[in-house]
């Protein structure tokens, strides 16, 4: 009899958990419903933020947990897909090969990659979007403080990895275009953006981290350009590389009042579609020069958000 009483007591606790879980699930369901019916980027961002907040406040479900495998990363993935839909861009999906929901972002354009959001272990919080197998971080995203920063070396490492090397110009172009589309939508909600080496505008300037470039580095650029039959022109403030008839790369300096030279790259093409990243990927000799001298050429980026 005592054992029976004990099991009823256990069942009573289970029933209470079910009640609690039900109310949490109802709240989650409500938040999800609002997200699914949101009609513009700002509402989408707000509702997914609310949904993540609901999850955070309620803590883990006691009994329903095995049914819910969707963490914050999943909801951010869904947000990216929904935001891109405003640009008619269906690059990403969370459906796997069996048409079932999965945690990571996949793309038919990049069939061998899967991207997942992982929490950033920094005081600012936020998430990294990283390739699941290679563990290469490509961007930092913080929905609370409305920030998206590209990790330049991550993107370059991803696309020069063994798998990345096999990608076509079209695949790379669509990937870069997608990240630009996403940034454009996020701007509607006043996100702070750093698209870094995937900026497509001809007037985008990419400053390098260090001032006062060693002459040896620019000498090497000249020697390599000549060896690779690329027309390089000396300008009053630096160099111009005519990579092809419609693609130009400027590498110029601005000297400050105390005589320090700040160097910068700028890519110019007739369609505003090329980026510094696409130049690095297209021209192996130029990429090698960039990597070999990365200590002097590292493009400035929000490195404080990519620690560890």
């Amino acid at each position: 009899m005592a054992n029976q009483d004990n099991s009823f007591a256990q069942l009573a606790i289970f029933q209470q958990h079910l009640d609690l879980d039900s109310s949490r699930v109802a709240a989650l369901s409500h938040a999800l419903k609002r997200f699914l019916s949101a009609q513009n980027p700002v509402d989408n961002i707000r509702t997914i933020r609310d949904l993540m907040q609901v999850q955070l406040q309620f803590g883990p479900l006691a009994e329903f947990a095995p049914l819910f495998r969707f963490d914050d990363g999943f909801w951010l993935s869904e947000l990216f897909i929904k935001l891109l839909s405003f640009k008619d861009n269906d690059f990403f999906s969370t459906l796997d090969g069996q048409n079932k929901l999965s945690v990571g972002l996949r793309s038919r354009i990049l069939p061998n990659f899967e991207f997942i959001f992982v929490p950033a272990a920094i005081a600012a919080g936020g998430f990294y979007l990283q390739e699941a197998n290679l563990q290469i971080r490509i961007l930092y995203f913080d929905i609370c403080h409305q920030r998206l920063f590209i990790e330049p070396n991550g993107l370059l490492a991803l696309f020069t990895s063994e798998i990345g090397q096999g990608l076509s110009t079209r695949q790379l172009g669509l990937t870069i275009q997608t990240l630009n589309d996403l940034a454009e939508v996020l701007l509607e909600d006043q996100f702070v953006l750093d698209l870094n080496l995937i900026q497509m505008e001809n007037d985008a300037q990419l400053e390098i981290n260090k001032a006062d470039l060693p002459v040896a580095v620019s000498d090497k650029l000249f020697i390599l350009a000549q060896a690779n039959q690329v027309d390089i022109v000396a300008l009053d403030d630096g160099f111009l590389l005519n990579l092809n008839s419609s693609l130009k790369l400027y590498f110029t300096e601005v000297v400050d009042r105390i005589g320090h030279a700040q160097w910068r790259f700028r890519v110019s093409d007739k369609d505003d579609s090329e980026t510094f990243l696409s130049v690095l990927l297209k021209y192996a000799w130029f990429r090698n020069w960039y990597w070999d001298n990365i200590q002097d050429l590292q493009i400035a980026y929000r490195d404080e958000f990519f620690l560890g």
Binding site: A216, S218, D219, K220, F222, I223, Q226, A227, I232, V233, A234, F239
Partner: protein, 234 residues
């Protein structure tokens, strides 16, 4: 008294001569002024050195010089060169497209070969005499690079030797080795840069003139070729 009278007569006799000499100068200056105002480049060059013009363009055997007249333009030659240079540069852009010119002081133009980084200064363009005044060591280096296989071989040997030494230094870690490697690396870079510049110069010479000697020959004919060009244009 007689001596004084004679001197007076001699002086008076000089008046027609002096008038003549002064009239010649006035005529000369009037002519050159007219030629400038009419942008008659051919006449300007003829007036600046008539003997050279008659000899080279008209093919006269013994043409008289006019230095005593053209000397009068000496003080205005920098400005005159600035007046003449746009036309000459437009011509040079067609026939020597790899040369670029930088005015280093009024009327003085430095010749740059190419627009690439580390482009070398080849000398001066004398606009008044329509001549390239080449810098001998620079042009000789290009000639050797293009025409003397041993020059290229020596460069290659030097580079190989520096790379070989660095491979040895790399196997012996230490401050001295690192310093030596760094010095070698700097020298390798210098040699590679010079070679890149020479290759670009060679490319242009071969593209436009076929050979170094033909380039030099054509550069030496600039006065005749340019004035004949102006003549045809007239």
């Amino acid at each position: 008294m007689t001596k004084q009278l004679n001197l007076h007569l001699v002086a008076e006799n000089k008046i027609p001569l002096l008038n003549n000499l002064i009239n010649n100068k006035i005529d000369y200056l009037t002519s050159i002024k007219k030629a400038i105002s009419e942008s008659d480049y051919l006449s300007i060059y003829e007036l600046l050195d008539s003997a050279r013009f008659n000899e080279k363009i008209r093919h006269w055997q013994h043409a008289d010089p006019n230095y005593f007249l053209s000397n009068m333009t000496e003080t205005i030659q920098p400005e005159l060169a600035e007046f003449l240079v746009p036309k000459l540069l437009a011509y040079l852009q067609i026939y020597f497209p790899f040369f670029f010119f930088r005015e280093v002081k009024t009327g003085v133009y430095e010749i740059l070969f190419g627009r690439w980084p580390s482009a070398r200064t080849f000398g001066i363009l004398d606009v008044i005499r329509i001549e390239f005044i080449f810098n001998d060591p620079v042009i000789n280096e290009l000639r050797d690079f293009m025409d003397d296989p041993s020059f290229v071989q020596n460069r290659d040997d030097q580079l190989k030797e520096l790379h070989r030494a660095n491979r040895i230094y790399a196997g012996k870690p230490g401050i001295v080795s690192e310093q030596s490697m760094q010095e070698n690396q700097t020298e390798i870079l210098r040699l590679q840069k010079t070679q890149a510049v020479l290759e670009l110069e060679q490319e242009q010479i071969e593209k436009h003139f076929g050979s170094f000697s033909h380039f030099l020959e054509q550069a030496g004919h600039l006065y005749v070729d340019y004035l004949n060009f102006l003549n045809k244009e007239n």
